[in-house]
Amino acid sequence: MTNDTLKTREAISALADGQLRGQEFARVVEAVSKDDDARATWHAYHVVGDVLRSGDAAGHNDLAFVARLQIRLKSEEVAVQSADAVKLIAPDAINAGANGQFDTKRDSANVSRFRWKLVAGLASFTAVAAVGWGLVGGLSTAPTVNLAAAPAAPASATVVAIEQPQIMIRDPRLDELLAAHKQFGGTSALQMPAGFLRNATFEVPNR
């Protein structure tokens, strides 16, 4: 066994106990999924833990289970994509006309919606710094935070949406404007870490 293998296994043991952070964490997560030995190690360490705790063993079919799950996850993704597209195009009696409706049939070719002056060839919506995300249904019901209470160690407040979403639309033009608006994040003290970071972070999967 190489020294590297041993070091990776040691890191996997640490990962199992929540000891890794940052780059190391990312590296080991990647190793476990790519490297058979690393995977087998993560698996074995957890089987050992389970046996020690419950005296009960299994584990001889585990990776087959995972393999089967992976196949399902992939087809799961495809199903999700179509469902959401349908929901988003939902005919909306209130929205008469071509305003803002995301039309999958036309949009990919419809340059006229994208009103910034673009260099030729940059027709794709995703090429513009397009950002945006929506208040998806299914609100969590976390309690509101009482700011006046000023606890010594504030619990991390759950992020909630303030109102029930009624209608959801996708509007590439609005995304453009939002991007342009975020570009000027320098006007705020709370750039966190830099105003344009938020611009760069949010994406609309335009599929």
């Binding site: 994509q81 090429a127 303030i162 109102e163 939002l178 342009a180 003290a189």
Partner: protein, 358 residues
């Protein structure tokens, strides 16, 4: 992996379509609140804490300056997650400053891949999937210290700061500071400021009832990290294989463009104004879109004005993404879109106040 992100980050604007009459009624109400008041009571939900001391607001400027300086001066590498409702997006960020220049790199971890590089106010975003890159100058990034130092700085007039405990974020001890608005025209913030450096490691935007509209936080962070500026420079300059677009943005003033805000919205000062040329299409003539930016020091609002076009501009309405509100309105031959991280009534006040110059 993409479709998973559709579930999570459905890029939807939430539209709450309102009766035009209702919207106007709300605006009328908001205006009288916004303009008339000078001394104001604290917004409900963000109710008063301890009695204010003799110099309460000097504190907020100090906090903010410290946070701002840390974000400029410190080297760090981190993973950054922004969430709102059930949506989340994240990116990895590298930042370094060599005393003179700053460099930053942001790699999206969610959504379509993108790499953004910044050197001071030069920014370029690479989109690997389409092999396009967008380069632009963001001159506003150096603006903040000037805001604080200017004689008529109004942040302290409209917000107060108080420390609200301690917490730990991404392995770092942080002071929790609540920035409380003094009126209903703006949101509040809860800021986690890393103890040693002041770097903002977590930030929540809070509505008038104290509910969290949006949260940004580092999930992993390495402070004083060994970021290689030369390497970042190289990556930033390497546009090989990419078609680089430099969108045109012309600095102007609202007055020159023919617009005026007849009733200013308390606390918000005009910061800058740009116009972007818009190409003619089969359905529309060539145009300019004006963007007029306002800020109260913590929140910003943009007014976008373009020619009204029946084909594209239909319903006046109000939409929301996270902490960002937007309302659209027709003004004569023009179409206005107001975008900002402020309550709807504030945006409505802007919409109500914008007027074509005589």
């Amino acid at each position: 992996m993409r479709p998973m992100q559709i579930t999570l980050f459905t890029g939807c604007w939430l539209r709450r379509v309102r009766d035009a009459a209702l919207a106007l009624a709300a605006v009328a109400g908001a205006c009288s609140v916004g303009v008339a008041q000078t001394a104001v009571s604290p917004a409900p939900g963000l109710s008063s804490g301890p009695v204010e001391t003799a110099q309460p607001d000097r504190g907020i400027n100090e906090w903010l300056l410290r946070m701002h300086e840390a974000s400029r001066r410190r080297a760090y590498i981190g993973t950054f997650v922004v969430s709102s409702g059930s949506s989340m997006a994240s990116a990895k960020i590298w930042h370094i400053c060599d005393g003179q220049n700053q460099m930053e790199r942001v790699e999206s971890l969610s959504g379509p891949p993108r790499s953004t590089f910044r050197r001071d106010d030069q920014v370029i975003t690479f989109l690997p999937e389409s092999k396009h890159a967008v380069a632009e100058r963001r001159e506003s990034l150096g603006l903040f210290p000037n805001l604080l130092q200017s004689a008529d700085s109004s942040i302290a007039q409209f917000y107060s700061a108080r420390q609200a405990g301690h917490d730990r974020v991404a392995g770092f001890d942080a002071d929790v500071v609540v920035l409380q608005p003094k009126d209903k025209l703006r949101y509040g913030y809860r800021v986690w400021s890393e103890k040693r450096t002041g770097l903002v490691v977590k930030l929540q935007t809070l509505d008038v009832d104290g509910r969290v509209l949006e949260q940004s936080a580092f999930s992993e962070l390495q402070l004083d990290a060994p970021v290689n500026m030369t390497k970042l420079n190289q990556m930033m300059s390497n546009t090989e294989g990419y078609k680089v677009d430099r969108p045109e943005m012309i600095k102007t003033t609202a007055a020159v463009e023919g617009w005026v805000l007849k009733a200013p919205v308390a606390g918000f000062k005009a910061m800058s104004c740009f116009k972007r040329p818009v190409a003619a299409t089969e359905t529309a003539a060539a145009d300019n879109t004006m963007q007029w930016i306002f800020s109260d020091g913590l929140a910003s609002v943009s007014l976008f004005v373009e020619l009204f076009d029946r084909r594209h501009h239909g319903q006046e309405g109000q939409m929301v993404i996270g902490a960002t509100q937007t309302i659209t309105r027709r003004i004569g031959d023009w179409w206005l879109t107001v975008v900002g991280e402020a309550p709807a009534q504030t945006l409505a006040a802007f919409a109500q106040g914008l007027e074509r110059k005589k």
